[in-house]
Symmetry: C2
Subunit: 245 residues, 2 copies
C-alpha cells in the first residue's frame, strides 16, 4: 500500500488512492458490470487500510453511480442492463405520465472517417474510423426522436444494424454486453432548432417547426469520450426534465 506521505506537495488522501485502485480494477475487468465486488473488510485487508477508509472510497464511487451498494447483500458494479437503469440518461418524459416505452426504428449504420471536429470530441485522430448510426424512436406509433450516433470504430468492432435493432432503445446496455464498454457520465447541450431536410421528413414535420436539439457526449471509465449523439426531439407532448441543486 502507498505511504501516507503527509506534507508532500502532491498530498492525496488515502481514500482517494483507494478509489483509484478500485477504478483500475474496474477498468482492468477484474469485476464486470453487475458483479459483486469483495466486502469492505476484505478490501481493507487487501489494501492494508481500515474499513472506514475503504468505505469512504466506495461511497464516492457509489455517489457517481459507478458502484451500487445493497445493504445485507454486498457492493456491485453498476450496469445499464439492470431494470430501472436502462433509461438512466433519458430525461425526456411525457407531459402527463412517466418514463416511456420507446420503439426503435433503425435507419442506417455506416462506416466513415472522423473529421477534425469529431476527432476533437471523441479524442481521436482526424481520419480515424468511426461508425455512424441513425435511428428513429417512436412513442405509441408516433415519431418522437431522430437520433444520430457516432462511435469510434475500433472499440466497437462488429457493431452493425442488427445489434442496434435487437436491443430496444438502450444502446448503453448493448455497449456493455457486446463490447464491455460502460458509460458512467455524459454531458448534454440543448438548444431549440427548426426542422429541416431528412429529419423533418422522418419526423413528419414541416420545415421550420421547432425541435429540441440534444447533443450528448458520453464518457467511460477514466473520463474517456466514447460516444457522440445528436437527438432531435418533438416536444409537443414531452419535455426534458432536469433538477438543479
Amino acid at each position: 500500500m502507498k505511504e501516507k506521505n503527509y506534507s508532500s506537495p502532491s498530498y492525496k488522501p488515502l481514500y482517494e488512492q483507494i478509489k483509484v485502485l478500485l477504478t483500475q480494477s474496474l477498468i482492468g475487468g477484474e469485476w464486470g458490470p453487475g458483479d459483486m465486488i469483495p466486502s469492505e473488510i476484505e478490501l481493507a485487508s487487501r489494501y492494508k487500510v481500515s474499513q472506514g477508509t475503504v468505505r469512504k472510497a466506495i461511497d464516492a464511487l457509489a455517489t457517481e453511480h459507478i458502484l451500487l451498494r445493497r445493504q445485507g447483500k454486498g457492493t456491485f458494479v453498476a450496469t445499464h442492463s439492470a431494470e430501472g437503469m436502462k433509461l438512466r440518461f433519458l430525461r425526456l418524459t411525457s407531459i402527463d405520465g412517466q418514463k416511456e416505452f420507446l420503439k426503435n426504428e433503425f435507419i442506417s449504420c455506416t462506416k466513415g472517417k472522423a473529421d477534425v471536429r469529431m476527432g476533437q470530441i471523441l479524442d481521436l485522430k482526424a481520419g480515424a474510423s468511426i461508425i455512424e448510426i441513425k435511428r428513429l424512436l417512436t412513442f405509441s406509433g408516433r415519431p418522437l426522436i431522430y437520433d444520430h450516433i457516432v462511435v469510434p470504430a475500433s472499440p466497437f468492432k462488429g457493431l452493425s444494424g442488427n445489434r442496434v435493432e435487437e436491443k430496444n432503445g438502450s444502446m448503453y446496455s448493448m455497449y456493455e454486453s457486446e463490447f464491455g464498454i460502460r458509460m458512467i457520465r455524459a454531458e448534454e447541450r440543448l438548444k431549440a432548432v427548426g426542422a429541416s431536410g431528412d429529419v423533418a421528413v422522418a419526423l413528419g414535420l414541416k420545415n421550420g417547426e421547432p425541435l429540441l436539439s440534444i447533443e450528448r457526449v458520453s464518457f467511460t471509465y477514466g473520463d474517456k469520450p466514447m460516444e457522440w449523439r445528436l437527438g432531435l426531439c418533438i416536444t409537443d407532448n414531452h419535455h426534458y426534465m432536469n433538477e438543479l441543486e
Copy 2:
C-alpha cells in the same frame, strides 16, 4: 437529544435527526445566509453526539449546497449573493465562451390572483395573491431571454419593479437580502416552441422561430415551492448545458 431507538418501526439514523435539527435552525433564522455556524465540536456537545455524527449531517447538507464547508475557516450557510453563486441556476452558456454578463430590462410587475394551475404549482389556494414580473435579459445588446416570473405575494410583500431593476439579473440574491428567502433547489422542464405574440416582438423574432422554453419551479427550505418561472431563450449562440451522472 433524541434516543437512538433502534429496532423501532420508524428507525431514523442519528445523523438524519441532527440534519433535521440543523435545518430547523436554518428555517428559524438562527443562522442566516452567509453566516458561520458553530464548529463541529460545539454542535456535537450541543446535541450530545460525537463529532463524526455531526460531520455526517453537515456533509449531507453541504452536498445539497445548503451549507458550505471551508477548511480552516468554518462551515457557512450558503448564499446566492456570494461571487460565483449568483448564476448557480443558470445553465445557459455562450457557445464560444463562459457564463455571461447579462443586462436586465424590466418590463412589468403586476399583482394578480393565482388560477387553479398556478395554485397547484406554488401550493397556494386558487385566488391567492401573486406577483407577476416580466423582464428581458440581454447579452451584449441583443435580446436573449424573455422571463415571466410568478411568486406568492404574501412572503414577498413590497416587491416592486425597482427592486428587480437594482439587482442585475440575480433574483435569488435579491430574495435573500430583501425577504430572507433562500432557494435551495429547482426543477426545470424544457421544450422547443415557436415564438409568438409579445414575446416574439420583444425578442425581435418572426412568428414561429424556434425558442427554448425553460419552465422552472424553485423551492426553499422544506421543499416549499416559492417561485415559478418561464424563460424563453434564443439559442442561436447559446446552449443549455447539463451533466448526467
